[in-house]
């Protein structure tokens, strides 16, 4: 027995420990408020692991910083009470079934008062549960919104609607660009984004000469880029793609000697892309998500306290991990705090009513309207200004804020048409 039995036990033990560690890691350890007499818990339900983690984990981490700041300032003032904030997170791995399990845990066991979500694949079942429980929840993807998602809000990001601002800016500032090639990942993130870019390019008078989806299991992007470049486009549009895909697509464009304009929804961890390509290659690339140390983030219409300081704090605590969505979750949490203090309650429905009061709200990039009836059947998205960001000397730089509703009023029918065509 000896050696063989021992080996199996050791091996089984290792495997069990590994499996246990993974199981344990799927339940994110809650941030525990220090020395709190009264505590209010906010839930974070998103993909903290996996290929979509780049759009959730940095946001969860930013929420921890936000909670620290709030608690250090005495907590949330509700009437005569001060509430300390605790962030309770659950890794749903971007799976619908795990998301529903997490939703039930957060609401029924943890008694959270708000659930922050990325949205998309993981949302439908969880949001249905939240609606029944009258729980306030938020998304970054307003495609989650339907007339039935009564308490599900998109208060920070209106993906992919804001992508129109980048195309519009490009058409005005580089009118010599006449053709575009679009590649997009074949999923619920890619489809509405393609519809939006098609509408924006049509509105701008730019011909789309290539438009194809790629499988999200794609490992080699060389054929995707070769096919796009075969059409000699003036603009290559990367649509909305996972951070890894944008990275690899940019690298392939560089390797296949593309020298034209690039536009993308996101450009996460662009420093790494520059390291793989060059500063010159990425120069002029247009996307939609600013760094918060940008001077334009200090303009008076910005509703985010000390954005420059927040950016520095975040990068000190979580180096090299700033992504497109980092600021959005704490921005929503801060909006919730202000609404709760105004309502004099942390209860979900009271805060919901406070948030929606007057039909306007303090969006990060300026006060905005609760909107969406025409597109999603419910006015639960806070829509207003959005920045157009350009890579200048290797740094993300806001070149202009543009109003999404203004574009919609002029070209909304085009977006409806392309959305219908994309199914």
């Amino acid at each position: 027995m000896g050696k063989k039995g021992l080996t199996r036990r050791q091996f089984t033990g290792t495997a069990a420990a590994a499996a246990g560690a993974v199981a344990a890691s799927s339940f994110g350890a809650p941030y525990v408020a220090q020395g709190a007499e009264k505590v209010v818990k906010l839930g974070f339900l998103g993909p903290l692991t996996g290929e979509v983690a780049g759009w959730a984990l940095p946001g969860r981490n930013a929420c921890l910083i936000w909670a620290d700041q709030v608690n250090a300032g005495g907590g949330i003032k509700i009437g005569d009470d001060n509430y300390m904030v605790e962030i309770v997170s659950y890794d749903n791995e971007y799976l619908a079934d795990k998301s529903l399990i997490g939703a039930k845990k957060l609401v029924l066991e943890d008694d959270v008062k708000l659930v922050l979500m990325l949205g998309g694949t993981d949302a439908p079942a969880a949001v249905q549960f939240f609606t029944k429980q009258k729980m306030l929840s938020t998304t970054l993807l307003p495609s989650d919104l339907t007339p039935d998602t009564l308490y599900h809000l998109a208060p920070a990001e209106v993906h992919p609607l804001y992508n129109v601002t980048g195309v519009e800016w490009l058409a005005e500032n580089r009118p010599e660009l006449k053709t575009a090639a679009i590649c997009a990942q074949d999923d619920e993130l890619g489809w509405p984004s393609v519809a939006t870019y098609l509408a924006a390019f049509e509105a701008a008078g730019i011909d789309v000469v290539y438009n194809k989806y790629f499988d999200i299991a794609t490992t080699d992007f060389a054929p995707v880029v070769t096919a796009m470049l075969a059409e000699n486009p003036d603009i290559v549009c990367l649509d909305t793609a996972y951070p890894d895909f944008v990275n690899l697509l940019c690298e392939q464009l560089f390797l296949q000697d593309y020298k034209g304009q690039i536009i993308s929804c996101t450009l996460d961890f662009y420093g790494r892309i520059i390291e793989k390509t060059s500063t010159e290659f990425l120069e002029g690339l247009i996307f939609q998500f600013p760094d918060f140390d940008d001077p334009a983030m200090n303009e008076p219409h910005i509703n985010f306290e000390n954005p420059n300081e927040f950016f520095v704090n975040y990068n000190e605590r979580f180096p090299d991990a700033w992504s497109a969505v980092t600021w959005e979750y704490p921005a929503i949490a801060e909006m919730w705090r202000l609404a709760a203090e105004k309502a004099g309650s942390v209860e979900p429905m009271a805060v919901f009513a406070s948030l929606k009061e007057g039909g306007r709200g303090p969006h990060v990039f300026g006060d905005a309207d609760w909107w969406g009836e025409e597109l999603w059947g419910i006015d639960n998205a806070l829509v207003g200004n959005w920045p157009v960001v350009q890579i200048q000397n290797g740094k993300a730089t806001i070149v202009e804020y543009r109003n999404i509703i203004d574009w919609w009023n002029k070209h909304g029918e085009l977006l409806k048409k392309h959305t219908a065509e994309q199914g």
């Binding site: 091996f11 290792t14 290929e51 499988d215 490992t219 080699d220 990275n247 000697d257 961890f269 991990a321």
Partner: protein, 291 residues
């Protein structure tokens, strides 16, 4: 014209690492009769070794590739000794064990390296060169390096099998284990050698591709599917068939992905496999279970 040539270049570069994967898989099957589902995870492990040694600890890239081969080869030896060997007489034992190994290696990678954000592995040789002065066709330096390493390893492996006594023994064992045993060859030692070599080559494939692909714990999934298609088309047990099929399949897949799209390419790739099996059930170069 440029697009056709660029696609040829893309396919040629890709075929080298697919061949490296497939040859290792064929060797393991030939000698051990194990359909090794964990072979993709050996590829993943090789990629992580390069991430850890080259990207995180600044070891020279080529040293990291050699280390990946050795480390993954040793992992293969351990797995053979602890898991596959006791199951030698059980036709399904090895298969089930390999599926278990697949999950364990994935979980270990996830626990050790995490699965949150993309692993950043800068290429040793960034940039590309025009092909023979054709401005519209570029050959990325890093892919050229990967291609060169893969070709050298494949040639070296072929010479080892054809010119050395150990290589002859491996081939003999693959052709007929009982006969080889009756000639005094140790099946267990040859199986250990086959596993070490096969895993090492998969580790090398992962190592050379690491700067060019997404490195994450589940990276082996798409790779093993391709490798299985290749060894079935080539003829299970045939090393020459695996190399030939790797080239044919990769060219087919790359051209369809470029001119139609990637999803259609994957579907047509499977149909191609079915077609080959219908016309030549033993695969392109399959003759019994020869290695």
């Amino acid at each position: 014209m440029d697009t056709v040539v660029q696609t040829l270049v893309n396919a040629l570069m890709q075929s080298s690492f697919v061949a490296l994967m497939a040859v290792g898989l064929v060797l393991i099957f030939g000698v051990m009769r194990v359909i090794n589902f964990a072979h993709g995870e050996f590829y993943m492990a090789g990629a992580y070794v390069v991430f850890w040694l080259y990207a995180q600890h600044e070891l020279p890239f080529f040293a990291a590739v050699v280390a990946a081969m050795i480390i993954v080869g040793i992992i293969g030896l351990i797995i053979e000794q602890l898991l596959f060997k006791p199951m030698r007489e059980n036709p399904l034992g090895g298969l089930i064990m390999s599926i278990g190994v697949l999950f364990i290696l994935q979980v270990l990678a996830a626990v050790i390296f995490g699965v949150g954000l993309m692993k950043h592995i800068p290429p040793l040789y960034p940039g590309a060169t025009p092909l023979f002065g054709m401005d519209g066709v570029s050959v990325p330096w890093q892919r050229l390096v990967a291609f060169g390493i893969a070709v050298v390893l494949l040639i070296g492996f072929w010479l080892f099998l054809k010119r050395t006594r150990l290589g002859w023994a491996l081939r003999a064992c693959a052709q007929d284990r009982e006969a080889a045993a009756l000639q005094g060859m140790s099946i267990n030692k040859l199986a250990l050698l086959a596993m070490g070599l096969g895993a090492g080559m998969a580790g090398a494939a992962g190592a050379i591709m690491a700067p060019l692909v997404r490195v994450y714990p589940y990276i082996g999934g798409p790779v093993i599917v391709t490798a299985f298609i290749v060894i079935i088309v080539g003829g299970i047990g045939s090393l020459e068939g695996a190399v030939l099929a790797a080239v044919l399949y990769t060219f087919f897949h790359t051209f369809v992905a470029t001119y139609l799209d990637g999803t259609i390419a994957s579907i047509l790739g499977l149909l191609l496999m079915l077609l080959v099996l219908t016309v030549r059930p033993a695969g392109l170069l399959g003759k019994g279970e020869k290695v």
